[in-house]
Symmetry: D2
Subunit: 364 residues, 4 copies
């Protein structure tokens, strides 16, 4: 019976994989079982974020030292740039082990890779379909049949650069946008709607291309999309609960209605056995293996009726502002900032809010 | 018997004083009683932050329409740049009214202006002495004799620019630093130590010039300093409790040990009658008139033992990161982000932390 | 017979109008004759550039000290933010004097203000029409009948903010874009096409809304548009040669094909009597009263066949990169950097290039 | 007889070494002869520039595919971050071939590695001496005896980290600075003064430790230094003319007195046979193999007597401003921007200026 493991490991730099190698060396991690690595790296999280590429290069080289290349290259590497505010760069390594049993149902992990996305489909229906198909494949891989048992879907999606747009132009096709920064948002938007479709939160037929990246009433409560310059396809990781898996880990999720809406997260922690009136106590902090969430600036320029300035700041991207701010709100709740808060939450939770997944070790 | 009033008013832009004028028009604010205005404006909070100058210009012109120039120009205008994350630009207008009585002791307000600071004294003992003298003058003005009754001292201090350094060079004197951005930190540092000396938290004789901006074991739990390009002297506002004042407002303070240390703030809220297990409820939010706090990145590069990247980010100043992050932590506690979180907390609270003052309306 | 005067005056800060006041005090400038002030201010030149508002506020207050408010407020104040690289913040004051004669034809100046632009017309045909009408009015004001005699048209145009978009939404109308930064580009684009229409460079009927801000084959060789948050209408200043004017000043223009295409500028200088093989000599530098130009990053991501990275840099806007770079190219030619290089050259010269106007004093 | 070769190759990303591999594949480059690679990569050129690490990682992996690791690792990899303005990311590969003769004297390349620098000597006289010794060794390696024949010295120098400072503390010695960022500047400063000493531009005895990184009257007209965390010693590459070498390439240099002082560069081009009144013509552009220069903002805040704002901009580092601006000035002269303009020019040329080396192919 499969047992899911999740290891949160600090990184001293985008290419610091020493913590993972140490865990492999002393047997805590079996490289053969590693399915995916989620990483927070300290670039700007935008078009010219080379920390993600550096991390991906370093992780790939490291896993190839321990596995056959064709096996190593199957591992989903989802690097989310931007550790604004007090966030700590770190890796979350997801591993599938085999069966000393334990509690069941338990955390189940599935993954899938889509084919390369034609640049002209980015931010359009074609991307939604491709992602929905990929999510279904990842659920199958995780042994999850009921969409309600899915608590988090992490997707790494491509973006457009000036050069990729030129390539599309050369083929005589039109892209959804000619702005590289905007393409990151459209890619995240279509990917997230693809998750909503796969999980039955939305009907594909109800989504028009014009809604993508603009109609914020359409959203998924469990999607997390992150765009990167270093890939041309989608990497999908599904986290949920399954009776086909066993082990100490459990996952649940909450949806924040805005950047400081931490009470639903507090409630989810309580459902997982970490009940707290104020900040999470030291013991419970150790039981919280990972927090995975999304952040964004609300498009109406308001937070609880007061004006925020994130969208009018031309020096700092609103995604950087939002990650720092939401990391502070969640850090104030859980008591540390080695958390995975990813920016750009288009259609990921309501406008200005976002989904938050929590993985807890029930054995500690 | 004096009655202190504090009005929190939203601003739609650095030069939007319409909310204050409306309050004057309908009698909520009597311009003759206004002692100070604290403002959060949406610039970068650094050397080239022109939002503060624009706000100061607009406030001065507005008050001159309602008061004789010489009176209007006495009002302390303390503009703190940087409304990162979800922070809302706003004004807090402090007014001294006369006596329909009410609860006593109550919030008391005092203020002082120092002479212009010679550029070569910035960041050195001369600035500490000048500020300590100013704080004592402001306490006298507030009718506060016991330093323990002081809960917040807001100081606006000068900084060096390339041109001011050139002027010092021309006079043949040496400045403490030739880096304009660093000069903001040194000015805040010396000003805060001046507060600590005035409040008896530190002995002036125990502080060497070399400690200023470097020995973080020396700090005040009630100082808040903010540097601005638009002034050459210090503007000082003291907030405390005094039996010589009456009225509905009360003030208390907490010291955060780091950027997410919100429990001391929760305790201070409870002492003021706003007890809450989670996020402040809607009614209590209305009773919280103002939150004034400081934020900074810890100099050891760590938050609760995990690495933060604020000091190694050459694209965004650590002060902007810290304001966004701490505003998120405090916003998650009090339920909105129209709060005054100011960056650069050198010697203002322990390294990486900062003081937080809370003003509550006991009559609501 | 009208005599045009142009005064280039250094500014020590966005609110430093002391140089202009000194010129008024000693009679070099007669405030009654001032038609317009072009200013380079040191903000970021983007949405949250408060240096422009601070400059406008300071200039208005200054002129009101010397003129009746209704007269002072007619002066066109065109503040262009962003003095990247070595550019020096400065003012160019345009004045209309009366007749001690001198050479003719000579520099002629005309101006016009349009009504406020409805937010939903920004970046669309309505803005093109409104601007074209305004340019014709300004030519009439300058006494210029032949469009070929116009060498520069400076337009200050509005932009959208999150709040203005919300206002349009409230009226149930759609705006051309919901991105504030993009709105600056669309406003400059439509304004520039309006100039092209007024000068007969393009036919209004040949421009579709879809061309605005996207079809770079449509451009004016004499338009300079700059967007600012501080106005809701257009301020238009036309510079040209007219036999109805006399005096020492003459104007001509060149069109740069890309960011380092300085040879056409060298040729224009030669036509004005400043012939130079290398960098302008010291004497000729003094004869060059003002250089007014535009800069932008080419949309194909290439400069002379090599890749530039301005469009893929999410930390610094491409407009800031381009201003610094083009200011270096032009500074290398004319021998100083107190020049007016404005960013965002949509439809202002060919893609990646821009118009440059040169004003020379023939009497020195 | 040795023949020096220099290959300028465009890079589509920091990890794009495909152009170099293609040149190796078709025999244009023999990896066994490669001595050094200078690269312009598109990061911010500051502390958190991961484009340099990504480039170094990619180059090392590539050369190890063609050479034994111990040989590949001898190649000097000098990555300069920051391709601001229109600068094009590219590599300049320096190769030593053997003798089909041709013109002589010709470009000569020498290389040297110094021993590890004791941390307490960084930024002090000890580093100056060590670098001077290393430059003499590199001259010997290049077969250059007369210092006047040296036209460019590229040095990669170490910096201090918290760990290295701790090691120095443990040995009871004091370091020149405890700020790691400042240590980069001090290391570049001392290294550049070491070049000046080796080339006879300055007397070692005339330099006090206090001058290092502060007395800008002391400078070398041929030094180019960049600090890197990955080495503890110095990697030195000397470019000059030697009768012991032959081949089509020649090198000369100029010293810019400020950011737009291009006439000395024009004169150097003329000495190399590329005489031009205006911008370099297309044919001569092809003969210019490489331009290597330095840029910085003048510390007095002035350019030709006018104020620049580079040092007061807290949003963009002055090094980024300066690179963009100087690249524009030099690009306007040579007709393209695939040039190597590096920031941080402490003691490299006069304050605000910098050295420029030009490599020309005389056979084209």
């Amino acid at each position: 019976m499969p047992v899911a493991k999740a290891h949160r490991i600090s990184a001293n730099a985008p290419d610091d994989v020493s913590g993972i190698e140490a865990a492999i060396a002393d047997g805590r991690i079996d490289p053969k079982g590693v399915l995916a690595v989620l990483g927070k790296t300290e670039g700007n999280g935008l078009v010219n974020d080379f920390s993600r590429g550096l991390a991906t290069t370093s992780l790939t080289a490291m896993f190839r030292r321990h596995l056959p290349a064709e096996h190593a290259d199957l591992i989903c590497l989802v690097m989310s740039g931007g550790t604004e505010g007090g966030m700590a760069p770190h890796w979350v390594v997801f591993e599938r082990g085999e069966g000393q049993g334990g509690a069941s149902p338990a955390l189940a992990i599935g993954r899938a890779h889509t084919p390369a996305l034609p640049f002209e489909q980015l931010g359009r229906a074609g991307q939604i379909e491709q992602v929905a198909e990929g999510v279904r494949a990842a659920m199958l891989d995780a042994g999850i049949t009921d969409p309600d048992d899915v608590h988090f879907v992490q997707i790494k999606c491509p973006l457009l650069t000036a050069q990729r747009i030129a390539e599309a132009d050369a083929r005589g096709v039109t892209v959804a946008t000619r702005e590289t920064l905007k393409s990151m948002g459209l890619s995240r938007a279509a990917s997230s709607l693809g998750v909503a479709v796969a999980l039955g939160e939305l009907e594909a037929s109800a989504i028009r291309d014009a809604d993508i990246g603009s109609n914020w009433n359409l959203w998924s409560g469990r999607a997390s999309a992150s765009a990167g310059i270093e890939l041309l396809n989608h990497e999908i990781v599904v986290l949920g609960m399954s009776a086909a898996w066993s082990g100490p880990l459990a996952v649940d999720h909450a949806v924040m209605a805005d950047g400081i809406d931490i009470e639903p997260v507090r409630a989810a922690l309580a459902r997982l056995g970490l009940s707290t009136p104020g900040q999470l106590c030291l013991i419970d902090r150790l039981r919280l293996v990972a927090l995975l969430g999304k952040a964004e600036a609300s498009h109406d320029g308001l937070l609880r009726g007061k004006r925020h300035t994130m969208l009018d700041d031309s020096d700092i991207s609103s995604t950087r502002h939002a990650r720092a701010f939401v990391a502070g709100a969640l850090g104030g709740l859980v008591g540390h900032a080695e958390i995975y808060v990813s920016g750009g939450a288009e259609h990921q939770g309501p406008d200005g809010g976002g989904p938050v997944a929590l993985i807890v070790d029930r054995s500690r």
